[in-house]
C-alpha cells in the first residue's frame, strides 16, 4: 500500500496513485499527497486506482475529504478495477466525482 504523487509539466494536474490496499492505514500519506497544494486554484486531481485492489469505507471517506478540500469537479477517480468500480456504483459516487478510464 503505497501512495505516490506526480505533478504534470504545466502544473495543472496532480496525479495521486495508490497501489495495494486503500484503507485507513494510508490515511496520513494520502492526506499529505494533496495537503501541499493549498494555493493551487485551477488544479485537477486524478486519483489513479489502477494498482488498487481493495478499498473500504474509510477510503471513501478520504476521497470525500479530498473533494471537500480541493473543490467539486476537481477530482477524477481513474482506472478503477471492476471491484472498486462496483463499490463506487453502490455508493453512487458518480454523483460526486468524475469516474473515468485514462491511460
Amino acid at each position: 500500500m503505497t501512495i505516490s504523487r506526480h505533478v504534470s509539466d504545466d502544473e495543472r494536474t496532480v496525479t495521486i496513485s495508490i497501489s495495494g490496499r486503500f484503507d485507513f492505514q494510508v490515511h496520513k500519506e494520502f492526506r499529505a499527497a494533496y495537503d501541499q497544494d493549498e494555493h493551487a486554484a485551477d488544479v485537477t486531481f486524478i486519483v489513479d486506482l489502477k494498482a488498487t485492489d481493495y478499498i473500504d469505507s474509510s477510503a471513501l471517506g478520504m476521497l470525500l475529504l479530498l473533494r471537500e478540500r480541493v473543490g467539486e469537479g476537481k477530482v477524477v477517480l481513474a482506472n478503477c478495477k471492476e471491484q472498486i468500480a462496483s463499490i463506487f456504483r453502490i455508493a453512487n459516487f458518480g454523483k460526486l466525482f468524475r469516474i473515468e478510464q485514462r491511460s
Partner: protein, 563 residues
Amino acid sequence: MRVLIADDDPVNRLVLRSMLGPECTRVLFAQNGQEAVERYRQGDIDIILMDVYMPVMDGYEAASRIKAECSDEFVPIIFVTGAIDDEALRRCIDSGGDDFITKPVNRVILGAKIASMRRIREMHGTLRRQTTQLESFQREMERDLDIAKYIFQNIGRSATREDGIQTWAVPRSCVSGDVLLIESKPGGGKHILVGDFTGHGLPAAVGALPLSEVFRAMTRKGHDIVAIAAEIGRKLHRLLPTGIFCSAALLDLDPQDRVVRVLNAGLPDVLIADRTGKLLQRLPSRNLPLGVASTEARDLVAEGLRAGPGVWAFVYTDGLIEATNAHGEMFGSERLERLFAGDSSAEEVFRRISEAVQEFAQGATQHDDVTLAAISYEAAARLEGDAASVPPSTVEAPRDWRLHLHCGPHMLRHFNPMPLLLSAIQELHSLERERERIYTVLAELYTNALEHGLLGLDSNLKHMPEGFMRYYDDRQARLETLVEGHIDFDMEFVVSAEGSGLRIIVTDSGPGFDHSRCLPRLEANESYSGRGISLVRALCDEVRYHGRGNRVEVTYSWGRNTE
C-alpha cells in the same frame, strides 16, 4: 550515574572507584552481598559492580535477590571476578548479572561496559514509560467501547421473529458499526432501517444516536421514508465530520397499500425473493450514503414493488459479500445469489446464507461487520391482525373528523398550542409537504388572535426598529397578567373543488377589528397584521372574517400548493 561497588576488599573498592569516568557522579560502597542488597533497597542506584566471593552473602546470592526485587526497573549488575572458568562466568549471568569483567580490570573495557549498560537502561526506561502510557490508553479505549456498546443496545429494540424479521449479525470486534432499527407506523405497517457506519465503536455509536432518534420520531409521526432519509442525511452531514457517513437502506412495509418501498442509500442490492426462496428482483443503491451530502427529499429515489404474503426482502451490509476466505477471495454477490435457488423456502435461504458465509470465511480474519436481515412482508406488515382496522374501500386516510381546542388564560400563558394541533393533524394525515405551510397558517392566525385580539398590542410597533424589543417586552408583560379571555380552534376535514383540505376557524374573545374597512389595505399589504395575513391569504383558498372581526375562517387544501 550512581554506582554501587560491592567488594569485601577495601583496596579493590578504591581501585574500581578510581577507574570510573566522570559520568559516575556518586559512588557507594558495600562490603558484602548483604550490604549490597540493603544499599540497593535504599534506592537510587543506577548500576552495580559486584564482586563474587564475599563473606556473609556472596555476589551470586546478592545479584539474585536484587533482581528479584527489581520489578519493572532495570538496574544492571556487572560482576567483577577473578574467575576464568566458563562455569563460574556462566553462573554470573545465571544468578542475575548482566555482564562480567575479569580481574585485573581494564579501565577502558570497564568504561565501555558501563556505557553499554547505561544505554540499555535508558532504552528500558523509555520502553517502560511507553508501556504505561499504552496501558492507560487501552483502558480509556475499553471504557469508550463500553459506552458505545451501551448506546447500541439502547437505541432500539431488537427485531424479533414476531416482527417478521430474522437477523444474523457478526460484529468484527465487540461493538459493531451496523444498526438495525424497526418501528411501527401509526396507521399500521413498519419501517425498517439497516445501516452501516464508516468505522466502528464509539464514532459509529455517535452517529447512530441521532439517526435512530430521527428514524423513530418521524416514523411515529407518520412521515415517509424519503422524508426520513433526507432528514437523517442532513443531520448526519451537519453533525459528523466529512468522511463519516452511514450506508443504509430504509424499507416501508405498508399493509394497506400492499407495497414494499425501498430506499437504498449505499448498501449492496436489496434482494427480493418469493416464498420458495427464488430471487425475484434486485433493488440497487440509487442514493448517496446518508451524511455524505445535505439532502432534500426530492434528491432521493425510492423504489416500490407490489407485495403480498409470500414476499421476502433480504437486506445486508457489505461485510457479508466482502467476507474473505483464507486465500483472500471475497464471498461475492454471485455466490450469494446462487443460494436463491427457489427450491425450498425463504427461511431456508436465510439459514443457508449464514452457513455458507461462515464456512467460506473460516480461518481468515474478519475485516468488517456482517449484518443480514430477512424480512417477511406478511409477518412484518402484520396483515392478519390489522385486517379489521383497514378501511373497507380505498387506502385514504379518515375523512369524517373534526377537532375543537379551547384555550383559556392559563393554557395561553403557559403553553403553545401549535405542536398539539399540528400533531393531531399529522396523526390523521401524512402531510409531509403540507406540514410547514399548515404550521405557518395556524401560527399566524394564533399570533393575531393572541397578540391583537387578547393582548391588545399594536403590531405597527413590531415592525419599527426601536419598537421591536419594546413590543416583545410588552407582549410578555401582558401575557403574564392575562386572566380572562380565550381562543378557540376548530379544524375540520373538507372536500372542495380544489381537493381535500382543512377548514380552520380561529375565534378569540377580543374586541375584533373593522375588517370591512381594513381588508382593502390588507390586499395592498399594509395593515395592522402586515405581512402575516397576506401570507395566509397566499397559502389558503379562502380567508373570511366573521362577527366583529374576532373570528377568522380559512380553507387550506393540499391539492393547491403542490409544485
